[in-house]
């Protein structure tokens, strides 16, 4: 069995005080302009974008590594160190080709699920506590296609290529 996320991945919503509540219109406009420039700056560099994605991935995996058994109240195991390591390796490979995960979630099967959603196309990689890695791709008009990922650099690379082709098609 493989984890299939809901159509809309769970995004973290972080609290940020709104400068619009404390600043006048001119200051707000200036802040907005600076904010837009900084986002443009971040997005304009592949290195900065991927470094931020890798740091975010590491932060998320660290959170998942602290999950205890029964984290979902349905008796699921928390991800093992090995599942976290494999997921980290996969995430780095995916980010290196521009595939930034939309969500990194604990799997109800025990392990880590790395999820992508791109305009009606989905893909997940599930790194299970058993050491097994499963991948699935699907879209609105396509039945899910799942496969076991061979545990080797070539197996990882082949899956990265399949997912990249699917999501950028």
């Amino acid at each position: 069995m493989i984890f299939v996320p809901p159509p809309h991945p769970q995004y973290e919503i972080r609290y940020r005080p709104s400068y619009e509540e404390v600043a006048n219109d001119d200051i707000s406009r200036y802040y907005r302009k600076t904010e837009a420039e900084m986002i443009g700056s971040r997005e304009g560099s592949d290195y900065v974008r991927t470094t931020i994605a890798q740091l975010e991935g590491r932060r998320k995996l660290k959170q998942l590594s602290e999950l205890r058994a029964n984290w979902d109240s349905f008796g699921s195991e928390g991800p093992t160190a090995e599942a976290i390591r494999i997921a980290g390796d996969f995430i780095n490979h995916l980010i290196a080709v521009g595939l930034i995960p939309d969500a990194i979630l604990p799997s109800a099967e025990g392990g880590v699920a790395v999820c992508f959603v791109r305009e009606g196309k989905n893909a997940d990689v599930e790194c299970l506590n058993s050491g097994e890695v499963l991948a699935v791709r699907y879209s609105r008009n396509e039945r899910p296609h799942a496969w076991a990922v061979e545990q080797s650099p070539a197996g990882t690379e082949a899956t990265v290529q399949i997912l990249s082709a699917h999501l950028s098609r």
Binding site: D46, V48, S164
Partner: protein, 251 residues
């Protein structure tokens, strides 16, 4: 001050040339894919370039707000097999990037020029509206037991008034510096990376030089002349931003 030095272990993690364009008609993602198909022999890996759009709705009198987000593809990124180079074709333009190990400006410029001509042939933009050269350096500064003094390695860095405590855990500095003779702006960003190991501190030194509000013909030689001048100016700011102790780290 040497403004054009070559370092055997240059800390450049990404050097890029960015050209923003305007098309005569609406450009399709399909056309951008055609560009990718044309360069597939050397850039076989493709991925999407996406933006996440968030929307918040608050209705008058309602107690809660609704938030939704969606990911929208705005272009594609194509990497070489060794992932040392990448080119982006987006709805707003073209970017060529060289990652570590950096070679030299001549190679960066000539490959960008070659790919740009393919991009122009396939996507047919009518003018260039913004040109930029950007170099992102990562300096791994040794962390001595007593703590790091940034002024040992940096000549441009944040300063805390001496009466206040001097301990610092994180900083992000962004300076926008007008370059009136080039009709351009230089954005110099310095930021600390989260600690990766106990012996060094990773510091990003990002120098982004751009001119916007322009309308150059897509085949104009002037674009490439400006990029050459930007690269020289970038070198000047890079050298002006570091000390000899920093230079020793990458020579």
């Amino acid at each position: 001050m040497p403004a054009d030095r070559h370092y055997p272990h240059a800390p450049i993690t990404e050097a890029l040339i960015d050209l923003r364009v305007r098309y005569s008609d609406s450009i399709s993602l399909e056309r951008l894919k055609e560009f990718g198909a044309g360069i597939r022999d050397l850039y076989p890996h493709s991925g999407t370039r996406d933006v996440v759009e968030a929307e918040f709705q608050a209705e008058a009198g309602a107690r809660s707000t609704r938030a939704s987000s969606s990911r929208k593809t705005v272009g594609y990124i194509f990497h070489t097999a060794d992932k040392r180079q990448a080119v982006q074709a987006r709805l707003d333009g073209f970017t060529f990037s060289r990652f570590m190990p950096y070679e030299n400006w001549a190679n960066l410029r000539s490959e960008a020029y070659r790919l740009w001509n393919v991009f122009v042939d396939v996507t047919k933009p009518i003018e260039v509206q913004r040109v930029a050269v950007r170099y992102i350096n990562q300096l791994n500064l040794p962390l001595p037991p007593g703590g790091l003094q940034f002024e040992d390695y940096l000549r441009t860095h944040p300063v805390i008034g001496p009466e206040a405590g001097q301990e610092l855990e994180q900083f992000f500095v962004r300076l926008m510096l007008p370059q009136r003779d080039l009709m351009a702006h230089l954005v110099l960003t310095e930021a600390l990376l989260p600690p990766q190991n106990p012996e060094t501190v990773g510091l990003i030194l990002d120098i982004d030089l751009f001119r916007d509000a322009i309308a150059f013909d897509v085949r104009s030689k002037e674009i490439w002349d400006i990029l050459d001048m930007f690269r020289t100016r970038k070198n000047l700011y890079f050298e002006a931003s570091i000390t000899d102790a920093a230079r020793e780290l990458f020579t």
